[in-house]
């Protein structure tokens, strides 16, 4: 977190710079099945963030040494397009994207019924086309929809959400300025049906009480986004089957 402190992020009326309430998230749009070459795919716009996800598989895992006898491996690549950020970023993976890919894969393995596909591999390709804070969460949401679109069985859809702290106030879903100048960020991957947590990172400074408020906001937001994800999958299903929602 930047945590500079001298940038004003809350207005006198208690609302945030973009007019949101403290527990209000940015607008989210979800589409399933938008990439013809993929076995499953999704597009998520969350605020100004745009993430696209393609899923390929299950397919034979090779090289053989990555195979697991009793389950599928989930091979996630989280990547930011060079033009997705204010300053262009060089193509290719960096330490940040490799870490996010690792923990995202582990979160998805927690919900995909991997034991149904021994010795196989499921490729999950998350591409961030536009970044405005919170891309790892948007990527998780897109991945969950793309996996569902590919027909991969899961215990639940994971939803990526984040809360944080600005000007000593807990707020839901930090935007770019709030992320740059805020005090803490708590991204999570939540199973909305059970409230379990499959993805967790956090940095900054939070007291235990503040953590609890973040958690509460995240859970609420996860349920809202979950509905949009289910709607998108229904639309996609009907489209494929030529029917109506």
């Amino acid at each position: 977190m930047g945590g500079y402190g001298d940038v004003k992020l809350l207005r006198d009326d208690g609302l945030r710079l973009d007019g949101r309430k403290v527990d209000e998230m940015r607008e989210v749009k979800v589409e399933a099945g938008i990439l013809p070459a993929a076995d499953g795919s999704a597009w998520v716009k969350h605020g100004l963030n745009v993430a696209v996800c393609a899923v390929y598989g299950p397919m034979e895992a090779h090289p053989r040494k990555i195979q697991r006898q009793d389950r599928a491996v989930i091979d996630v690549r989280y990547n930011m397009a060079p033009f997705s950020t204010s300053d262009r970023i060089r193509p290719g993976y960096n330490r940040r994207s490799r870490e996010i890919s690792k923990v995202t894969a582990e979160a998805l393995e927690s919900v995909v019924l991997v034991e149904r596909y021994p010795r196989s591999k499921i490729r999950v390709e998350i591409e961030i086309l536009a970044a405005e804070a919170g891309t790892r969460c948007v990527g998780i949401t897109a991945a969950a929809v793309a996996l569902a679109d590919a027909g991969i069985p899961m215990r639940d859809l994971i939803v990526g959400v984040a809360s944080g702290k600005i000007e000593d106030t807990v707020v839901l879903d930090l935007d770019k300025a709030e992320d740059n100048y805020g005090q803490a960020d708590l991204p999570m991957g939540i199973l909305p049906t059970t409230g379990e947590i499959a993805f967790l990172q956090m940095d900054g400074d939070l007291s235990v009480e503040e953590y609890n408020t973040c958690m509460e906001y995240n859970l609420k937001a996860a349920r809202e986004i979950h509905e949009l994800m289910v709607d998108a999958l229904k639309r996609r299903y009907n489209e494929k089957n030529g029917g109506e929602a």
Partner: protein, 260 residues
């Protein structure tokens, strides 16, 4: 490597070709439908999404301030790169840039660069000190055939709609990048023994060599490239060059219709 499918596919494509037919019903010189959207990406200074049949690509333009090369103190620079990442299709694997992606980026780059559509002198801010670098990055999201033409179209469309973020760089007010020409690419693939325009993924899998032609505003050639195993005759080239003349003009019109 499973080569059975391509082998059966080759036979089918040859049979279709004998009747002057194509696997998806198109005529020999027909293109698939093309949808071009511009200004579609937050944070990119110019952007385009191309939906070319089932092929989907994005192109984004970014600028940077840099010091000029010592031997060209009053010139900026242009760079165009393409990423063929695993998202694009089942056959793509992670790893360092493949020869395929390097060729794709370089062929698109040459077509734009050699057309002279960007005047490098116009990118100079302070001679010997500060120039603009223009970077076009192309991202292939769904490869269902003929990504070369889709990428070239996206690159020039993103470029033609790009705004130089001069305010952010503290060099005055934002202004549109000056682009004086609209080079476009037209690719032909040998399928069932004869060249066709705009091969789809099945035609590429069961086809042979490709020829990529980039033409500028007056029908001049700016870039040529032959790819894959195979040869062609001068007579064959003359024929497809004629088709390319028509088709590139249409593509340029499509790009020009999108300008601000």
């Amino acid at each position: 490597m499973v080569e059975l499918v391509p082998s059966l596919l080759r036979q089918e494509l040859a049979a279709l070709a004998a009747n002057d037919e194509r696997i998806d019903g198109r005529g020999r010189w027909d293109s698939r439908d093309i949808k071009l959207e511009t200004n579609c990406l937050y944070n990119a200074e110019g952007s385009a999404k191309v939906t070319w049949g089932d092929t989907i690509i994005y192109a984004g333009v970014k600028f940077e301030i840099r010091t000029p090369w010592p031997d060209r103190p009053a010139q900026g620079s242009l760079m165009c790169g393409a990423e063929l990442r695993p998202v694009a299709g089942r056959k793509y694997e992670p790893g360092p840039p493949s020869p395929q992606s390097i060729e794709l980026g370089r062929v698109v780059d040459r077509g734009i660069r050699e057309s002279g559509c960007i005047d490098m002198d116009s990118l100079c801010i302070i001679p010997g000190e500060k120039v603009l670098g223009v970077m076009i990055d192309i991202h292939v999201l769904s490869d269902k055939g003929n990504i070369f033409d889709a990428c070239a179209l996206g690159a020039i469309a993103a470029l033609r709609t790009a705004i130089v973020p001069a305010e952010r760089f503290d060099i005055g007010e934002d202004y549109p990048l000056a682009v004086s020409m609209t080079p476009t690419m037209c690719s032909f693939t040998r399928v069932g023994g004869r060249f066709v325009l705009d091969a789809n993924d099945e035609e590429e899998l069961g086809g042979d060599e490709r020829i990529h032609i980039t033409l500028g505003d007056e029908g001049h050639l700016h870039s040529l490239q032959k790819g894959l195993k195979g040869t062609f005759t001068p007579a064959e080239f003359d024929e497809i060059l004629g088709i390319a003349q028509q088709r590139c003009a249409e593509l340029a019109n499509l790009v020009n219709s999108k300008e601000a």
